[in-house]
Amino acid sequence: TQAPETDGADSRITVAINSDTGSMDPAGSIALTYLAYSVSALDELLTYDENGEIEYRAAESFEVNEAYTEWTFHLREDALWSDGSEVTAADFLNTITRALDPASGSGYAVYLFPIENAEEIYNGEAQMDSLGVDTPDEHTLVFHLEKPCVYFLDLLRLPVYTPSCEKYADAVDSGWATDPERSLANGPFYLAEYVPDQYFVLKKNENYWNEDAVKLDQITYRFFDDTQSMANAYEAGEVDVATSLPSTVMQLYEGKEDLMVTDQIATRYIYFNLNVEPLDDVRVRRAINLALNREELCQIVGADTEPTYNLVAKYMKDRSTGEYFVDGAPQPFEENAELARELLAEAGYPDGEGFPVLTYSYPTLEMDSDTAQVIKEQLKETLNIDIELRAQELQANYSTRYAGDFDMCRMNWTADFADPYTYLSMLLSNSTYNCSGINDPEYDSLVEQSDSQTDPVKRSELLHAAEQRAVGEEFYIIPLYAMKSVNLVNPDITGIRQIPASGALEYRYAEKGQ
C-alpha cells in the first residue's frame, strides 16, 4: 500500500474521519464519508454562515413567491466542474431524480417530499415527469412545492439537493462516486484518490469559481475505526485534525491550543413505548422524567455532555433571534424527585411497589452503556423501580426500535438542517421515526401550522408550544443531554469553520500557517 502523501508542501492537511461503509453518491445511502467529502468538494445552492447570513455558493440569487411554494434559483454562470465542464441545472435535477428511486437507498429522499409529486413518485404512484422541478434554462432551477415550506432553504444543504454531474453520475452501484475519473466536484476540492477503507485525497480544484479564497492544496481524509485510535493518531502526529473524540481528551488537552470543543446540534433522549403499561400513563412518564438527575448523569457520562430538558437540540440557534432556540421559552419541566415519587404513587405504585420491570434497549456504544447504567441506578434509588438493561448491537437496536419491541429505547438525533422542525417532526403521528405509538392530533396540528407560518416570531411560538406539549406535558420522551464535540486541531491551521446546521467542521477556506 502506498502511503497517502501527507508531508511535503505545507498547504496540505490530514483529517481523521470515522470510517464508514456506504456511498459517496449524494443520491445514495450516504455515509459519513460523504459528509466529509461534500463539505469540501461540493457546492450546494446556498447555505447559511455562522451569523445566519445567506452565503451563495452554486447559486447566485434566488426568488420565492408569496406563498412560499415556488422557489427559483439562478445558478452561477462561471461555475465549473473540476474537469472544466459547466455546472448546469440538470446536474441538480440528476441527483433529485435518482434519489427518488427507492432502490437508491437514500435516507434523505424524504426531504424531497415538499416538492410537488415527489412523494407519489417515490411511492411509485406518479411518473417522474410530473415532478415539480423545472429547469427553464441551463442556469435556472425552479422548485414547485406542494405547500408552503418556510425552512426550504435550510434543506438545500442536504445531499439530495446537491449536484451530481449528469455525465458520469448514473447509478448508485456503478461506483462512479469513488472513481476519481468520474467523481467530479463543483466545489473547492476534487477527489484525487480513493482507497477504500484507508483514505481518500482531495486536491484543490483549479476550476473553482472562488479559487482564490482556497488556500489549501490538499486534504487527506484518513479512515479510523474508533475515536480512541484517532486520538492516538493525532497524538502521534499522523493527522492534523481529529474530530468527535472521547471526552477524556478534554482533560488531557486542557489549556492546550489543540483542543477545540464545538457544539453538536444533537439530542440524546429516550423513547417511551406508549403501548406498554404503565408507560401509557402520563403520570408514570412524568415521574420517570422528574426522577432523573441529569446533572449527575452528565458528570458521569463525560465532560462533553450537558443536561437538556428539550427535544430540540440545545445548541440549535434560532436564526431570527440569533439565540439558542430552546432558550426562547421556559424549560419544559424541572427535575423533582419528591414530586416524582408522589406521581408514581398516584399512578398506583407507591414506592415502586408493583411496578413492572421495564426493559431499556440501547446500543452497545460506550456512552449509551454508561447512560443506561446511571439511569438504572437513579431510578432504583429515587423511585425504587427496576430497569432491565438490554444492550444491543447497533443494528439490532434499530430493528428493535422499528418493531416497537421495547419499553424504553435510546434515541439520538443529530439535526439534518438548522430548523427545529427536524426534531419536532419526529413525533408526528405519521413520522417514520415515531415508533413509540405517539398519536397526538393536537401536537400534529401545532407542528403543521408552523410549516406554513412565515412570520418567524409566530412560527417560533408555535414550535415552542408543540415542544412544550410533547416534552413538558405529555412527556413522550425523556430528554437526556446535549453533546459537544471534542476535536483536536493542529494549532497551525486556521480558518476552520463550523457548519451551523450540524456542528461539523468545514475546511474549504482553512489555511495552514507557516
Binding site: S29, N232, A236, E393, Y398
Partner: protein, 310 residues
C-alpha cells in the same frame, strides 16, 4: 500423497459447503436488516430488500446464492453498493496476509531461536528467563499488549506509526502484538520437543560418533523437533491469515478481521458469507499445506501416506 491431498481437498469442499449453508441460515437469525439504519423508513428498507432479492423465500435465496458460489461468485456487498465481495476481499486480504505472514515468520524465527537457546544454554538463568518471558507473553491478552505497545512506542515515544499500514515501520507494532503469543507457544513447544529429541538414543549415538552438540542440534534434532511445532504453526498461521480483529482495530488496519466484524454489524449478509467461505478456505488450505509440509519433513509419513487420520 496425492491421493491423500485429494481426499483432504474433497473433505474441505464438503466442509465449505456445510459451512456456507449453516452460516447462510444463521446470519438470517440475527435481528436487523442490512438496509436498516437510523434514517430509513420501513418501506424504503422493503423496497431495497426487494431490489436485492431479499424478499424471496429463504430457500430460493439459498439456492441462488449457492449457484453463484459454485461459479465462484460471492455476490455484491450490500453496504458498499457496486462493490463485489470478491473485490472487498481482494483489497482487505493482502493487508491481513502480509501482516500474518510477517508475524508467522517472526514468531517462527524467534520461537525456534529462543527454544534452541533455552535447551542449549548452559546457564540456568537463561532458561529461566526465557520461560518467564514466555509465560508472561502467553498470559497477556493480545488486545492489552497491542494497546500498551501503541501507547508506549507510538503515542509516547513516537517511534512507530500509530495507525495504518503504509510504511515498513508501521508493520513493527502490529507484528509484535500478533506474534507475541505464537512466539511464546513455539518457544515452549520447541524447547520441549528439542529436549525430548536430545534425550533420544540417536542423539546419544550421534555423540558416540563424535558429532558436536551444535551439529547434532542443527542437523539431527531440530528437524525432528520442528514437526510438533508445525502442527501448531499450521492452525496458528491460518488464524493469522484470517485476520485478528483486535490488532487490526487498534492499529486501524482495514484487514479481513475488521472487515468481518464490520460486515456483521452492518448485516451485510453476502459479505459475511463471502468472508466466512473465504476464511474457511484459507483455514483448510493452510492446514492442508501444513500437513503436507510435515509429510515432506517426515519421511515416515511421506513414504506411506495411506492411512493418516486427522
Amino acid at each position: 500423497m496425492l491421493r491423500y491431498a485429494v481426499k483432504r481437498i474433497m473433505t474441505g469442499i464438503l466442509s465449505l459447503f456445510v459451512l456456507a449453508t449453516v452460516t447462510f441460515f444463521l446470519v438470517r437469525l440475527i435481528p436487523g436488516s442490512p438496509f436498516m439504519s437510523g434514517g430509513v423508513s420501513q418501506s424504503v428498507v422493503e423496497a431495497i430488500e426487494e431490489e436485492y432479492g431479499l424478499n424471496e423465500p429463504l430457500p430460493v435465496q439459498y439456492l441462488s446464492y449457492m449457484a453463484g458460489l459454485l461459479q465462484g461468485d460471492l455476490g455484491i456487498s450490500y453496504q458498499d453498493p457496486g462493490t463485489s465481495v470478491t473485490e472487498i476481499i481482494a483489497r482487505a486480504w493482502p493487508l491481513t496476509a502480509s501482516l500474518g505472514t510477517a508475524a508467522l515468520i517472526v514468531s517462527l524465527l524467534a520461537g525456534t531461536g529462543l527454544g534452541i537457546l533455552k535447551v542449549m544454554s548452559r546457564k540456568k538463568a537463561v532458561g529461566h528467563m526465557i520461560s518467564a518471558a514466555g509465560m508472561a507473553a502467553a498470559g497477556i491478552p493480545g488486545f492489552a499488549a497491542a494497546i500498551l505497545l501503541l501507547l508506549v512506542f507510538s503515542v509516547k515515544l513516537k517511534l512507530f506509526p500509530a495507525s495504518g499500514l503504509y510504511t515498513l515501520s508501521s508493520y513493527v507494532l502490529p507484528v509484535i502484538s500478533l506474534s507475541l503469543y505464537p512466539t511464546a507457544v513455539i518457544t515452549r513447544m520447541m524447547a520441549n520437543a528439542l529436549a525430548a529429541e536430545m534425550g533420544k538414543e540417536y542423539v546419544l549415538f550421534a555423540r558416540a560418533k563424535g558429532l558436536g552438540r551444535g551439529r547434532i542440534v542443527l542437523t539431527h534434532a531440530l528437524k525432528n523437533a520442528f514437526l510438533p511445532v508445525l502442527s501448531y504453526a499450521g492452525p496458528a498461521f491460518a488464524y493469522l491469515l484470517t485476520g485478528s480483529f483486535v490488532v487490526e482495530s487498534i492499529f486501524t488496519i482495514p484487514g479481513l478481521g475488521r472487515e468481518f466484524v464490520d460486515s456483521i454489524s452492518s448485516r451485510d449478509y453476502t459479505l459475511i458469507l463471502g468472508l466466512t467461505v473465504f476464511m474457511g478456505t484459507v483455514v483448510i488450505l493452510v492446514n492442508l499445506a501444513a500437513d503436507l509440509l510435515a509429510a515432506c519433513l517426515d519421511p515416515r509419513i511421506r513414504r506411506n501416506f495411506a492411512g493418516r487420520e486427522g
